[in-house]
Symmetry: C2
Amino acid sequence: MALEPQLYNPPPPRRAFVITRLHSQTHEIIVDLSTQSIISDEVYGGHGYPLLTSEEQTAASVLPLTYPPFIASITKRSLKLSDVVCSTFTINGSGAGSGRNGIPIVQAESPIWSPLNGVSAMPPDGPGFKIDGHNVRWANWDFHISFDARAGLIISLASIYDLQKGTFRQVLYRGHVSELFVPYMDPTEEWYYRTYFDEGEFGLGTCTVPLQPMLDCPPNAVFMDGYYASQDGKPMSISNAFCIYEQEAGRIMWRHTETDIPGEEIKEVRPEVSLVVRMVVALSNYDYILDWEFKPSGSIKFGVGLTGIPAVKGVSYTHTDQIKEDVYGTLLAPNAIGVNHDHFFTYRLDLDVDGDANSFVKANLETKRVTDNSSPRKSYWTVVSETAKTESDAQIQLRLKPVELIVVNPNKKTKLGNYVGYRLIPGSLSSPLLSDDDYPQIRGAFTKYDVWITPYNKSEKWAGGLYMDQSRGDDTLAVWSQRNREIENKDIVLWYTIGFHHVPCQEDFPVMPTLSGGFELRPTNFFENNPVLKTKPPTPVSWPNCTH
Amino acid sequence: MALEPQLYNPPPPRRAFVITRLHSQTHEIIVDLSTQSIISDEVYGGHGYPLLTSEEQTAASVLPLTYPPFIASITKRSLKLSDVVCSTFTINGSGAGSGRNGIPIVQAESPIWSPLNGVSAMPPDGPGFKIDGHNVRWANWDFHISFDARAGLIISLASIYDLQKGTFRQVLYRGHVSELFVPYMDPTEEWYYRTYFDEGEFGLGTCTVPLQPMLDCPPNAVFMDGYYASQDGKPMSISNAFCIYEQEAGRIMWRHTETDIPGEEIKEVRPEVSLVVRMVVALSNYDYILDWEFKPSGSIKFGVGLTGIPAVKGVSYTHTDQIKEDVYGTLLAPNAIGVNHDHFFTYRLDLDVDGDANSFVKANLETKRVTDNSSPRKSYWTVVSETAKTESDAQIQLRLKPVELIVVNPNKKTKLGNYVGYRLIPGSLSSPLLSDDDYPQIRGAFTKYDVWITPYNKSEKWAGGLYMDQSRGDDTLAVWSQRNREIENKDIVLWYTIGFHHVPCQEDFPVMPTLSGGFELRPTNFFENNPVLKTKPPTPVSWPNCTH
């Protein structure tokens, strides 16, 4: 169930769009919440199924443990039923059978290392941000946090206060992870179908874990719960689904030491404090740490952390010397291959840069040859900007050529005449390596380009389609974009995929030290000049009489 | 002057290699420090000059202010001499004249913003690391810090304690920034020569700024001074040249929530603390923040922060509407164009992965087609590893194909049989766009590939050559590597360039909010499993009776 926020003034009646399974059919129901009445109820007839519910997964996991032939097969292997864990995998094959496999259980060994020393303190004046319902106000930022069963964390209506203009200015209408595609690279019978679309199949929201204070988030964090509708429509709560904290990581917001002026030395340094909103999603074996970091300078940094347990495949090998074939991964422990795979996080970022009519500019960096002896230089690069007219102009593989990608408001300029904009600074480049005609890649075709731009369309929220489970790839971003719609000076949506190829290594076993990546949205001629120039240096805080 | 550390036991007599200018000649002198005698004194006859000294730069800057025609030209423009700043630029042209230009002085406006709220506290038990002379010991890391006039911060003899083996294991023999190439992209008379090699021309060490406690580094930082020889051989000190601090940024070292085991929930989270060593270099207008971050998991993360003042060019324009030609940059303020440029940081990383004989492995990720119907999948990727035999095998442009880059010890395997290694996880990919035959690119040819591997050679420390100022490109990494030496199972050096293309924007003016990037060296089958698995969760610290 997803609530449609109605952001107009005065708001129309609140309505809910409900997807439910009834008598083996998928119903799409619109409910008017104020009158508690059903407006429409239609049966969905296309491919694919909605999110697996936790009730369905629990039911499926328990079933084999009561099935005599399964119990017999366990006994035959001299195992106890309590040694066996049944887990639910999505099918992901073109009509193949379902997977029911035991996964290794990692027992924590007794800790023998000292904890690391460090600071743990609350700021003396409490958090520097205010939360009013789901609205967060901090430094120059104002935004809304919401929880969605499928997307988990959704940030919306993010705007930033412009000191010079004396007003808040829009940046982001709505942003969230739209799909998380995790294909494994083992084509054999037991593994070929492990090409998860974790968000559309399992739900980043429903798999959000309660964050542990002091551990998942620093001591100064404030927590927020999340709610979603369970299979029978009753509300389910996830306590501490998000945390919000001011991050002081020892970074420098800006600085300069000026030494060129005789007899004078100018030194100005401003340490950086930013605001982080975090959720952690545990999708069976893997744990994903998903951060939004808001900086006073106007940047939003998106952090992606990969930890948890790598998926392993049982094998007879105990040493690499015994391996004479491609085992599709790395021997991580005796009898355990960590299978090669990818993680593609596709973000849907409905930017509204200083208003909702925006354009997408590719600022190509092109080498120019100097051939007329006008300069002792033989070359330089310059910026050749190109505004994308239609969707195909904005389908970009970032490896191919150097380009800066900017969402601008073509109706607003700075006083100097530059278009106000926000720039995407991409993270690690890892594009899909599956062939286009491979079934998982047909379903995951939205990863083919690192960047796509679409005109806003209310129904286009999920890059892999509304019904991801057992989908056929007929409702993806790649299909919608075939219409090649106009995107200039329109309300546009930026889709960006940050990918990781993962060749497991022994350090990843049994639990993987976090592998981090991320990307940034950064104001580019949005402000007239450095928006944090006038930040005062901090006053040092000390606690002279502390006992502990 | 660079002291050659003698790391053997018993150490031989300490010797210093001195480069000095005498009667317009460059002398290379070897001094025996214990006997205070000169071992050898040779005049260098090749191209290029050593680092500009600060005394030379001061002398040059003051000179025009006493030169009547210059004074007259200032008076003619209705300016006072005190309004004018003279700065020293390196020539960088093939025999062109020197540059003497006024740069804009940025006056700090009165701050009117509140400081950002936050935590400022020392850990109650003091820092969790020990500094013994220049040796740092923290958590499982042990390394040496030294200061070099040219490189600034040098980290050497970094080793990590292996809990399972009960011993320290080598990781890095010596690492530092080897050159910093900053070419501007304006081919006109006044700008074409601005293609700085900041490290070899000006010195990252000599331009290191004293770090300000609480501002450049967090409250829990410890500082270390740096020393170098001035023009006349007398020692010069830079106070607080480096800071060292434990960073608690709210990150998670590893975690897992296991929900698949019926009736049980396993939740284990370890927050991350890392150790940061920082220096800040102010090279005229620009400020660079250079961090080394050591993680208990064995990773070393290299942080690069760009801030300070973008170089601007005076123009008549006050609005973009007036601009009808390529101005090679962005109008940042009335009459000021921020000129397009690059920053290429070339790191020299003499890795010794578990010993000094290492090999370089390219683990290529290659798509395989399934054509024999052995699987419902049509494709997958697998790892095809290739050990680089000679230097040319290891010259890599990362954009071209997906590859994991691993320095392994071919003589050591894990118990499971994987080669122990450290992997390079690259940062933002920005390759040079100048043509190969352009003079600055001939001198900066070491940026042509993102990665190079060379066999260790004592004389090959500076990617652009020992004498960078007015060099001709005949002593660069690209030239050395033409020998195509063998690099398999040898003491090898990894050269990695992290680059940034910079199209200035108005937010960069007058001081630029820090733009951050970085890369990582990460253990890959170096340990038998997750080396921080046994870290205890931290004990929360509280100060119940604080007054402030």
